[in-house]
Subunit: 151 residues, 2 copies
Amino acid sequence: MNEKHDQAIESSLVAPDTQMESFRQARNNRRSELVEDYVELIADLIADGGEARQVDIAQRLGVAQPTVAKMLKRLSAEGYIQQRPYRGVFLTGTGKELARVSRERHQIVESFLCSIGVSVETARMNAEGIEHHVSPETLEAMKRFTPKRHL
Amino acid sequence: MNEKHDQAIESSLVAPDTQMESFRQARNNRRSELVEDYVELIADLIADGGEARQVDIAQRLGVAQPTVAKMLKRLSAEGYIQQRPYRGVFLTGTGKELARVSRERHQIVESFLCSIGVSVETARMNAEGIEHHVSPETLEAMKRFTPKRHL
DNA sequence: ACAATAACATAGCAAAGGCTATATTTCCAA
DNA sequence: TTGGAAATATAGCCTTTGCTATGTTATTGT
């Protein structure tokens, strides 16, 4: 260990453990991002056209179809969706619930950004990344600060 | 292709290309997150104790030391830092500039969250993930909405 | 001065999330 | 009803980011 015990000089650094927790949580959130994105998108596609197909998911996410196929297997294994070979994909109860929560959070974040003066295009772009890092407490704060007309 | 041209029913779905752009950008941001986190942390450690050592970086990020060593090689290759074997790591001009920008953005996001009523702990946690998805436009909006006393 | 310890380097592995290429199945239209 | 196109499945590869285990170099206390 290095021997600087002069803690008066400590500038903006928080305690190591505290900072570690923040980084760990950010990494954790990153791991669940994809699941949330997929489930939310699948719910939207089903609500919109009655079905969620791999090609449509792939197009909207901007990835290749085999990438989607692989991820759907994971979602299936984790109990969010059900899929039959060469058929569409359906959300389970768990999947529907996750989709609902994700969708709602997404909406709140996007509306909130608009309400503080961000353009709709930028709000949409930024919300896609931000939503996954917004805790319930922060979400509540955003809800409070969003005028009704934006919701 | 499926043949539903009844666009009146389209619920909340934006155009496929538009959505694709959002997802692509979110993925892009994710790739630069780690670089920004490292450079920002290195700058803080240097400002705080005069040096940035692998063990300290590893402890604060909550990862193992070889993980840090590998990333430092990448940062070195990309011109953000300079390192001499068994010696500390130093920021290049590019690195310092990136650190400055990242640090400022981080601060603004964290202060902004506090200013809308989020607790400091949650603000710190959420800011760590959110900062990387905040575009210049959104950052400006956040700055406008943060009272002076929070900055 | 030199052994013990702490820090760093390196090798090798794994999982996640991308990709292309290609095989298989389904579906629609002639 | 059947042949071609579209959708899905599968194989195999790559990169990133993490890990453990272990070797190598510096530093430090006696």
